[in-house]
């Protein structure tokens, strides 16, 4: 009579020792196959009595199931350990750099221009641009700077012929805007653009630079309105705690004219090298539009008034980011440009 218990033990031992799935498959054939050891037991059937046969059959079946379930358990165990090994083999160095899709970024002067544009769009201003080349009538005469005016000596211009030049200030755009709009009110525009002067390029001068001017004309626009507007601008560009102050100045196209200072954003007005110890930084020029300018454009200065201001984009960018040389903006060194990659 075969010893079921021995066979069961032997099978269990060998299953337990199986190293991998193919070992286990061999064992399945050896024990459970058609010519396997368990099937072999059935050969003993013929030697058994009729009474013994059912019990024997049951015992063989039980053994068969037992071995099969041992094999299944082992198979799961092996599959899991094989997956674990695979996972381990698949280990990567997560500190290696990623496959990066590098984006470029806007030029810092465009960042500042857009920021200013958006700020004024939010206040209801339209953005108007113009051509680099302008008629000197719009660049000077209309801005109340007649041909022999001393202010002409302040800016040496780049003429292309007797009447046309590269604009020396974005005021030239405003004069067109005014003329085209007259006599309609209100006017509320900002005019960004490139401007040109006969200057040798150095750390603080550039023959080409960018300005943005703002112009508001309506029935009762006051110098106090200008102050409120510029306070808004100073706070948006340099921080909520900024104060501004007006100092009297002179521009032919505004009267009164003012230079506008903002409390230093580096030292909060205490005095530091950036503000040369004064606590204040000059950021722009502005004023009430000169009556002559309104008159020449076709408005009656008795019936309307306005303010105008002009910002140097480079100046704002230099102050905001601490850039020490204006030429950086036009060299387009990749390392300089990438400084302005992140959003702020």
């Amino acid at each position: 009579m075969p010893n079921f218990e021995d066979l069961r033990k032997e099978a269990a031992e060998r299953i337990a020792q199986a190293q991998d799935l193919s070992d286990l498959n061999q064992l399945r054939v050896q024990y459970l196959g058609k010519k396997g050891k368990v099937q072999d037991l059935m050969k003993n059937m013929k030697n058994l009595s009729k009474e013994e046969k059912p019990q024997f059959g049951k015992d063989v079946n039980a053994l068969k199931q037992h071995v099969a379930s041992r094999i299944e358990e082992k198979r799961e165990e092996l599959a899991e350990s094989e997956m674990n090994m695979r996972i381990e083999r698949e280990k990567i160095d997560i500190t290696l750099p990623g496959r990066r899709q590098t984006a470029g970024n806007l030029h810092p002067l465009h960042i500042v221009t857009q920021e200013l544009e958006d700020l004024f769009i939010g206040l209801g201003y339209q953005v108007i641009e113009g051509n680099d080349i302008v008629d000197d009538e719009y660049c000077f005469e209309r801005a109340n700077i007649p041909k022999d005016h001393p202010a002409r000596a302040m800016q040496d211009s780049l003429y292309i012929d007797e009447n046309n030049l590269l604009r020396t200030h974005t005021t030239a755009i405003q004069m067109k805007v005014l003329e085209q709009a007259a006599p309609n009110l209100p006017i509320k525009v900002v005019c960004p653009g490139k401007v040109y002067r006969r200057d040798d390029d150095d750390a603080t001068h550039s023959h080409q630079f960018m300005q943005m001017e703002g112009l508001v004309v309506d029935r009762h626009i006051t110098l106090a309105d200008l102050k409120g507007t510029l306070e808004f601008l100073a706070r948006k560009m340099f921080g909520q705690d900024r104060q501004i102050r007006f100092r009297p100045s002179y521009f032919p196209f505004t009267e009164p004219s003012v230079e506008v200072d903002v409390t230093c954003h580096i030292c909060n007005g205490k005095g530091c090298p950036t503000c040369k110890g004064t606590g204040w930084i000059e950021i722009l020029g502005a004023g009430e539009v000169h009556p002559n300018v309104l008159r020449m454009a076709g408005y009656d200065p008795e019936k309307c008034s306005g303010f105008a201001f002009g910002v140097g984009i480079e100046r704002i960018a230099m102050l905001k980011y601490g850039v020490d040389d204006i030429r950086h903006f036009y060299t387009n060194d990749k390392r300089f440009e990438e400084t302005f990659k992140r959003f702020e």
């Binding site: 496959r99 001393p150 012929d161 626009i221 106090a224």
Partner: protein
Amino acid sequence: MLISRKWLSQYMDISDLSIEEIADRVTSAGFEVENVYKLSQGTNLVIGHVEECYDHPNSDHLHCTKVNIGSEIVPIVCGAPNVAAGQNVIVALPGAKLPGGEIKEGVIRGEASNGMICSLLELGVDPHTLSEEQKAGIEELPADAPVGDHDPLGYLGLDDEVLDISLTPNRSDCMSAFNMAVETGAILDRPVTLPDYAHAADGGKPTQLHVASETKICPHFMGKVIGKITIKESPKWMKELLSASGVHSINNVVDISNIVMLETGHPMHFYDKDAIKDQEITVKDGFDTDYTALDGVTYHLEPQDAVITNQGKPIGIAGIMGGDDSKILDTTSGLIIECANFNHVAIRNTSRRLNLNTDASIRYQKGIEPLSCQKAMDRAVQLLKEYADADEIEETVEYGSDGYRPKTVTCTLADLNGRLGTDFTFEEVCDVFKRLRFEPEANGDQIICHIPSYRTDIEGKADLSEEVIRLLGYDRLPSTLPLMEMTEGKLNPKQRMIRQTREIFTAQGLQDCITYTLVSTEKKDNAILGIKDPIELSIPISEERRWIRTSILPSLLDVVAYNHAHSIKDVNVFELSDVSATCGACTHLAFVLSGSLQSTRWLDYDVPADFYTAKGIVEEWLDRIGINARMVSYVVNKKDTEHFHPYRSAEIHVGKKCVGLLGQIHPKYAKTTDTKDVIMAEIDFDALFDVKKSKIKFKPVSKYQSVSRDISFVIKRTVPAEDIIREIRKNGKLNKENIIRDVEIFDVYEKAPLPPTVKSVALSILFQAENRTLKDQEVNDVFDQIVAALEKKFQIELRK
């Protein structure tokens, strides 16, 4: 403009104010004080007398002295080579603070030293005003100097403090000390008393002098003969004021001409009477001759220059500089005074051309007030009488007139407050006008201001409002926002498309750049897609900045070359900018790729800067700005094979129009631009802006299965891929519906064993119907139809 405490103190009491306070207040009223300085510095000083002086026993250059300082005799060791017994000197006593530090009692090499004998340099005096001897040694005071006096700087007149004021162009009237004093008084709100010199030049003996002008440049000329004067040293006050203004004292007569110019702002010229023949002076132009002026330099006079002449010969360059022949000498015994007005533009032009700026020309260029001719003449005669014993004074002769008409400006309080946004009172405003000597007159609610002759800047109410706010103070200006009807803030469509384009290009890895508009002739000649007829500056800044560019790429290639030269390999840049020519301005977009656009080397990940990367960038951009891909084609570049590699570049066409060029740089052009194999493009942005773009419209996504079929064939190498795709798309009709959704090329093979005339192309075609799932047979039919068309058109050979 330099004005000192002593200058101002002549006209008003400012003894209670520090110079810094004055500077602050003047600055905040529109007169920016750029610098404040003292003529000299030093505390605890005394005038001493050197009683004894002998060589220091332990030194080869020091001296030991005994100095009488009035109250006692102190020992001082002194290193100056010129110190000697018997001199009167300036002594800094222990505790004195000098620019170089504090003086202490001490022992120098064994000898007691209780102070220092000073040079003016050590007292902080500007070295430019000192002689070499003064700079090298101690200052020797006159023999009658008051020994024991504790204010040697005051004794020397060096105790002044100077304001260096930057005048705005509209206030050049304040180049006159009188006017600056009135202004300062108005700002500080205190009374100002100017010298009374009106009518001082009235009267006189009959004269032979004849003055005239034969040029428009000189509309007004006054002359006067002073028959007798005495040349001598100027009075102390005059020397001090000149020194505070940076002017050297010469003699009383020359100093008077200078002091009158500083006081009234009007330059005048004194001629030696004997040097002017026939007592005739005429202003002329039309010369073309060389002339040697007072400074010994020979200048070439041109016809447009105004010249002062005597008997037809130049004796001075009008308004700029006199001549050597007629200048005041120590022997001069009589004068002819010239006091004239000249056109400021003419003087500016002559002065610029000759590169000759004098105190006179600077004042004439800025414009002289109409009445100052008379003022200067009166003041000069007054001073000459008082300080140069002027006698035998003849009557004034005059050519032309001052053309002055008194000016009034009328405003109301509402005008002023309305412009400013303030609520100043009638009294406050009138007080400002009084301080400014506008003599305000109230007439109902109107204020009539009588504007002084020198305030040529005051023309209307707006100007008055500025006077009010700057004198009452900008700190009283409220802060409000404009109260007006609602306006829409916005960008126009082109501005929006520019922003979108910058965003799309940066998102694809390109850097936004700004380069200069002005370029060299070489760059102008290498314009790519340049517009016709470039514009040249009439006076270029330099060769590099001569032309207004018609194309961006040459400048952008410079950026690439610059970065390459700085070891930056991957340079991918773009610029969107206006370009201009005679016909007007338009907007271009240019970009350059070099190295890799994207790369992670350890992963072998690389998006190379090649034609197809550049084309992909353009495709993505056009797609996103709404230009339908079906309108766009890439055509063999015939337009510009000088700058582009002829077989690796394309014209970009939208509809039938060529809108741009794209491709690899021509190796020859690459050499001249210091760039290698870069890929570049220049595109007419305006042309793309003008293309009508369709609106976004949602189309339901088909619910039905799509079917894909691959096809691979051999075809003539010269057939462009685009033609193949177009032919396939054309033949996708099933009944009336085109069921082709997409055609994708997934392989192109051109190498052996294929013969060189052909290539193998493999494509995948995606079929889908709108409203049902396609049957196999239907797809096969269409597919066969496509194959047949390709066979017919291109003689393709299918690969199985």
